[in-house]
Amino acid sequence: MTQVGSRRLTADIFADSHRISTQLALRGRVLSDVLNDTSTSYLELDIAYVSRIDHPGEILADYALSIVRKDRLSFVVIASGLEMALKQNQATFTYRRLWPVFTTVPYFEITGQIEAPTNIDLRALMAVGVERFVPVFNGTASLSMNQAIQFSGELILVNKTSVEVMCIGDKSSQ
């Protein structure tokens, strides 16, 4: 079905204490490529709506020009628009599957699914070499100290350098 209002990618960028809502014109690129691009340490935003994390629905202010340090943001939530956030059907030489994941970053718990080889290697997964952000599908990020505050999306791009704990679990198949 045709969807209206989906020309730009809306993303919620989370740092430790703030939520930045923005609408990105990616000019043919996908968001994960932009975030993983090591040629620049910053993400420039055309517009930024700033909220504090304890009142994340309240917009404190908006700014026409903003810049985010990619290494200091914790994660990015994409509620919808997966095709603009991540390249689809990347060819791999290994069998891959979706793994349930629980991970923590400062102040937040994130659950969802990650795509990884059947013989998953968490050390390899967490290596920052090529990709700084790990995609978590159908993810939910909840504030650790107030579980009523939740952010869900088709995709959450989690900054590996912010990850404190990552747990892979699949109890249902054990």
Partner: protein, 360 residues
């Protein structure tokens, strides 16, 4: 033909909405920023406004709040349309006093169905001015809950869709007086994860009279739910019901103050005795300090004991405030309370029921 004002800084979206809504039979006016939208709304007095949130300068919530401050725009249906699509954003939209919320992206037929539904609801309640009455006393035992229950039933009996909120932290007695078993209380809702209009409506318990009740817990709540949740709940119910009656907590705390801020009128209930008079005097001072307008406060004297108490003139002189009404002693009241059958329903001709009817 109904007029819809679209306030969205995305010009493509504006055009699409215009076409879509015009095909649906509406007259559409569009604008790309909040201040201009507000100015147009004041002139046009549209039947509905569709407002984006993420607009530079003045965001959608600010626009909605400003619109609601305008008396002429209070009956305008407001639909928030936003790409900020998280539950907290839905909550923020309701807190800003929007009637509903729709996340972007959306399917055209979904939006049109939502607009048609909201306009149909508006048609039903358009001719009725909405009102919220908070029933209050800092003195226990003066009959606040009984007054609130009978007042709500009196509104409902006049075919005014009414919701009664028992805002006690617990134990609340509204459900008891109406002989209702509530599965969900306002504390359950406020501490829950979902803050949508639907979740609020689902938390209500319906009485046979048609009155909807947001019950209080029987076991007192250990932690106070977030205040913004209370505002969200009241705002949402104010949008859905023509009358909202709030049985306010009997302590001067943040919950009572938040609810008082949302009410149009405060029925300050007192009994004609010295202790109650002293509490009422203190309450009036506290309300004044909290900048609650004097005209918002109406004194109701409830003669809740058989022996005559202080004279009306003495009370009025002591408080510097005249009565809105006096509720007579009614021996049937105790029986009604025990049976869970409020006088307004079980004995509508009784003196107390008749006195409350006369005040509505």
């Amino acid at each position: 033909m109904a007029t819809i004002l679209v306030i969205d800084d995305d010009l493509d979206l504006q055009q699409m909405l215009r076409l879509m809504l015009q095909r649906g039979g509406y007259t559409v006016v569009t604008t790309g920023d909040g201040p201009d939208g507000l100015a147009k709304a004041k002139v046009l007095k549209p039947d509905m406004a569709i407002v984006d949130v993420m607009m530079p300068g003045m965001n959608g919530y600010q626009v909605v709040r400003k619109m609601r401050e305008e008396l002429d725009l209070r009956s305008t249906v407001i639909l928030i349309l936003t790409a900020r699509a998280q539950p907290v954003d839905r909550e923020a939209a309701i807190a800003a006093q929007a009637d509903d919320y729709m996340p972007k992206p959306f399917a055209p037929n979904e939006l049109l169905a939502k607009v048609n539904e909201l306009m149909a609801n508006r048609g039903m309640t358009q001719s009725l001015a909405r009102k919220t009455v908070g029933v209050f006393s800092l003195r226990g035992g003066v009959g606040v809950t009984s007054v609130a229950v009978n007042l709500a039933l009196a509104f409902q009996a006049k075919n005014l869709p009414t919701c009664l909120i028992d805002l006690k932290a617990g134990p609340g007695h509204v459900a008891l007086q109406l002989r209702l078993t509530a599965k969900t209380t306002w504390v359950d809702w406020a501490n829950g994860n979902e803050a949508t209009n639907d979740s609020i409506l689902k938390a209500l318990t319906r009485h046979d009279s048609g009155l909807e009740v947001m019950a209080a817990p029987v076991v007192p709540a250990i932690t106070r739910p977030p205040l913004d949740r209370i505002t969200t709940m009241i705002n949402s119910l104010q949008g859905k019901f023509v009358r909202v009656v709030i049985d306010l907590p009997s302590t001067w705390g943040p919950v009572a103050q938040t609810a008082i801020g949302s009410a149009d009128t405060i029925w300050l209930v007192l009994a004609p005795e010295v202790g109650s008079l002293q509490s009422t005097l203190g309450t009036l001072r506290a309300l004044k300090t909290a900048k609650v307008p004097d005209e918002k406060v109406e004194l109701i004297v409830n003669q809740n004991m058989p022996r005559p108490g202080l004279a009306q003139s003495a009370i009025e002189k002591a408080l510097g405030h005249s009565f809105k009404g006096k509720l007579p002693y009614d021996e049937n009241q105790n029986i009604a309370l025990g049976q869970g059958a409020p006088l307004l329903l079980s004995q509508p001709d009784s003196p107390l029921a008749a006195a409350i009817e006369a005040l509505v």
